[in-house]
């Protein structure tokens, strides 16, 4: 009995020490360091006809047996809606973990993908978000509902238009991404811009039902986020007019963006503008990294 009490007491003391160690001390300047942009922003062409585009985010993983069906649904949606939908496959958490199994050692994960997995309350795969819109408390939908949700989200005119000009300097491996967001209407919340890098045609094993497809082609895989979990503030809530815009530029060594080597010609830059309060996506644009 005395031993048990001693052990329980030690347990409490250990928990107490853990609690006592639980604090984060932030040193000045208390802000996320601004990235130095190595290249000057170019002149952006005038925006032409604008139309609404929708962001489809698919939480997936290489050991998720049903995820290829969701990927197929994504493919069908992209076929149905041409340039009106931008897909991003977020490999995160349990089903994306590299394993000791030699077929699944590849690491598709990104820090921002992991963060969004937790933040948006993902518990199963495959599951997705369409424009990060919450309806009746629900933001995550099974792939059987994605087509309907995409159709709903495409209604209406866009409040912003986004243009992207990527530049790559092979001499020093610097990638610069310049974005111009033009405000087309009034909006009452702060708006933020997120810039992502995705990659198509990654050939790596994938579980599919009871099988493993060794030469599975992974598309739209999220490989990097250039400006953190919650992007960059581009405009305070205020009435906007057509001549209001925000230009943001980001630069990074291309090879530093992801620990896995990437094939540049298979990469896209995805930029989306979202409501800082509700997190809902207002508009999204995608361009190839290099033509």
């Amino acid at each position: 009995m005395k031993k048990q009490i001693k052990r329980l007491g030690l347990g409490i003391a250990s928990i107490s020490l853990l609690i006592a160690g639980s604090c984060d001390r932030i040193e000045p300047p208390y802000v996320v360091p601004a990235k130095h942009v190595a290249c000057e922003a170019p002149d952006f062409p005038a925006i032409g006809n604008t139309y609404k585009r929708v962001l489809l985010e698919d939480f997936t993983g290489h050991t998720c047996t049903n995820c290829p069906d969701a990927a197929e649904a994504t493919h069908q949606i992209l076929m149905n809606h041409a340039d009106h939908v931008v897909a991003v496959a977020i490999h995160a958490n349990y089903f994306a973990k590299p394993l000791l199994d030699p077929d699944f050692t590849y690491d598709f994960r990104t820090p921002q993908g992991e963060y969004w997995y937790t933040y948006f309350g993902v518990a199963t795969n495959p599951i997705g978000m369409i424009n990060r819109v919450t309806t009746g408390g629900q933001i995550l939908y099974p792939y059987s509902q994605w087509e309907n949700k995409v159709t709903e989200a495409l209604a209406g005119n866009p409040l912003v238009e986004i243009q992207i000009i990527p530049q790559y300097n092979p001499l020093d491996d610097t990638l610069c991404v310049h974005t111009k967001t033009t405000f087309l209407g009034t909006y009452s919340h702060d708006l933020y811009l997120s810039v992502l890098l995705t990659e198509d045609s990654i050939v790596q094993p994938q579980k599919k039902g009871a099988n493993v497809v060794l030469d599975y082609v992974h598309n739209h895989a999220l490989r990097a986020v250039l400006n953190g979990n919650w992007g960059t503030l581009i405009n305070y809530a205020a009435p906007h007019s057509n001549d209001t815009f925000a230009i943001e530029s980001f630069s990074e060594k291309f090879s530093h963006l992801n620990a896995n080597p990437m094939v540049m010609k298979n990469c896209h830059i995805v930029a989306f503008v979202f409501d800082g309060e509700t997190k809902e996506v207002l508009q999204v644009t995608q361009v190839k990294l290099i033509d």
Binding site: I5, L8, G9, I12, A13, I15, S16, I19, A20, S22, C23, D24, R25, I26, P28, P29, Y30, V31, V32, A34, Y115, T118, Y119, Y192, G228, N229, W230, T232, L233, G276
Partner: protein, 566 residues
């Protein structure tokens, strides 16, 4: 979102099985003891536009609470059912609804005590951790989690707890963890066991965790980009305390240090927080005195960084002013200002002996009390001149002993209580009060003074019957001017109570706004049961308990209050 989880309703059903149908505590068939209490406050509202009592669409609003506890040996369990259908005026409308937001199970064995469910507890004075519930304020910050108490030896108590706080019918976004140790040296150290010097020391550490969110540092120059803050996800606060007593003297001191905690109550600054509370008291038969000093610097400590409003406090900062019970003395109450406050309070109580010239036949009680409260001095940092807010900076410098502006509050109170005969007792009070309405209430008015005089007469009519008359006056030339208050209470012990009161704003600058606020009440007591019915007007005001305040809107109508315990 209600606490309508299956587990709680199963628990409630289990509790109901243990409760007898009769409304008094009794043994359950399983051998335990069941206790409880019930309170209901209902009000029927009349429109009374003259005093600003607005229409209430429901006509009648109701708050009720039912507590049931079951005890058997070392096992204890309880729950509280609450119904706000809809919450009475002045209560936060987010309480609307009903359910079981509080339940717990507790087991004590030997040196251990474990509690799971909703926890109310306090470390030391509460300045680093206190969870509590106060009906009058509509405040409940209970911690839904687990607590373990461990007393390894006589004189030493360890406590550890963690959980999430109640936020109306939901929970706050942060997780709170805490550990506390208290040692009674007289019990721990054998030679001190017989010492006249009594000492206990304590130490606590509390931390909270909340997910990251997007808060920016912003510049006045629109061409300068905003910068997202690196927010501490874990924020810790530590405290040390000492209590000592020797003969007639006692001392209590507590110091709290809080780490960087940018939140929407401090403008997202990274300045550390600090609180100190010192009390020295002297007490002997017929004479008591105490003096207390307090300083608070950036001590808002909530489990949610943004959107917590007045709720989700992890800590409790005691008031350094005396809580007044007389109506006019409580008209401008002071509530603690957690981020910038330094104050002093002192009191002397003296009983003039009986059978002396001033003491008379029965003796005379004299009490003097004073409070002085100011802001701390804050010297804004130069870098903030370029920013559109203080977010992402240390905010200010504050020399520890420098007294800042504004002057928040002053009061000086003299109370004399004298029994003239077996049939008549008088309590007289004079109070000087100075208050800064902007700092204390948020009203954009300048600092003003008032004088309050109260005479409280109690006449014993017979062995059962007593009549009490209060006459009060508040004299000021500011705010709404002077007030008079008259109350007559007639009680027929032990069951009946009748009262008539009128509050009159005779000194209002606008003669058309010199309103009367009459109120009539009847109450019936029977053992632990009480029902009170009152009808009349209630002025808009502020209710404070222990330095925490709630605004009460003007209202008019019938009020019914029922309480019982079993």
């Amino acid at each position: 979102m209600r606490f309508a989880f299956k587990m709680q309703w199963l628990f409630a059903a289990a509790m109901v099985c243990l409760v007898s149908t009769k409304a008094h505590s009794q043994n359950s068939p399983l051998g335990g003891q069941v206790n409880g209490n019930f309170q209901m406050d209902a009000q029927y509202y009349q429109v009374d536009s003259a005093i600003g009592a607005l229409p209430v669409p429901e006509k009648m609003l109701l708050n009720s609470w039912t507590n049931i506890t079951y005890t058997q040996g070392n096992f204890n369990a309880g729950l509280r059912y609450e119904a706000y259908l809809n919450p009475v005026a002045g209560y936060d409308p987010r309480y609307r609804g009903n359910g079981v937001p509080y339940w717990f199970v507790d087991y004590k064995t030997g040196q251990f005590q474990v509690t799971a469910g909703h926890i109310y507890d306090q470390f030391g004075s509460g300045m680093v951790f206190r969870t509590y519930e106060e009906h009058n304020l509509g405040y409940d910050n209970s911690l839904n989690g687990v607590r373990v108490k461990f007393a390894p030896v006589q004189g030493l108590q360890l406590k550890t707890l963690y959980g999430v706080q109640r936020f109306f019918w939901d929970k706050g976004k942060g997780i709170v963890r805490g550990v506390d140790a208290e040692a009674n040296l007289n019990e721990l150290i054998k030679p001190m066991g017989t010492s006249e010097l009594k000492i206990s020391i304590g130490g606590s550490f509390v931390s909270k965790y909340q997910d990251d969110e997007l808060i920016n540092k912003t510049y006045k120059d629109p061409n300068k980009p905003t910068e997202p803050l690196i927010l501490p996800l874990n924020v810790g606060a530590g405290a040390m305390r000492l209590n000592a007593a020797y003969g007639n003297l006692s001392f209590a001191g507590e110091y709290v240090h809080k780490d960087n905690d940018p939140n929407d109550h401090n403008g997202y600054i990274y300045r550390k927080g600090e609180a100190i509370l010192l009390s020295l008291a002297y007490s002997k038969k017929g004479l008591g005195a105490f003096i207390q000093a307090k300083r608070l610097d950036n001590m808002t400590f909530k489990s949610q960084r943004t959107g917590a409003d007045k709720y989700l406090d992890i800590n409790y900062l005691p008031a350094i002013t005396k809580q007044q019970t007389y109506t006019l003395a409580a008209m401008y109450p002071y509530g603690t200002i957690p981020n910038s406050e330094m104050g002093l309070q002192g009191q002397i109580n003296y009983k003039i002996k009986k059978n002396t010239l001033l003491g008379g036949h029965f003796g005379t009680d004299v009490a003097l009390n004073f409070s002085l409260v100011n802001a701390i001095q804050t010297d804004t940092l130069a870098e903030i001149a370029d920013l559109s807010s203080t977010a992402g900076t240390l905010g200010y410098e504050s020399p520890f002993f420098a007294i800042g502006n504004p002057k928040y509050y002053r009061d000086f109170v003299v109370e004399i209580g004298h029994r003239f005969s077996k049939l008549y007792k008088l309590n007289f009070m004079y109070m000087y009060e100075g208050v800064d309405p902007f700092s204390v209430f948020g009203h954009a008015d300048p600092y003003f003074h008032s004088h309050i005089v109260v005479t409280d007469h109690t006449f014993k009519i017979s062995n059962r019957d007593a009549l009490r008359i209060e006459a009060q006056g508040l004299f000021t030339q500011k705010d709404k001017g002077s007030w008079a208050y008259l109350l007559a209470e007639y009680s027929i012990a032990p069951k009946w109570f009748f009262s008539l009161a009128d509050l009159y704003n005779y000194g209002n600058d606008y003669s058309s706004e010199r309103y009367h606020y009459p109120l009539a009440a009847i109450a019936y007591n029977n053992n632990a049961n009480r029902i009170q019915v009152s009808y009349g007007r209630q002025r808009e005001g502020v209710v404070c308990v222990g330095g925490v305040c709630r605004v009460v809107p003007a209202s008019s109508g019938l009020m019914i209050s029922v309480t019982t315990s079993f």
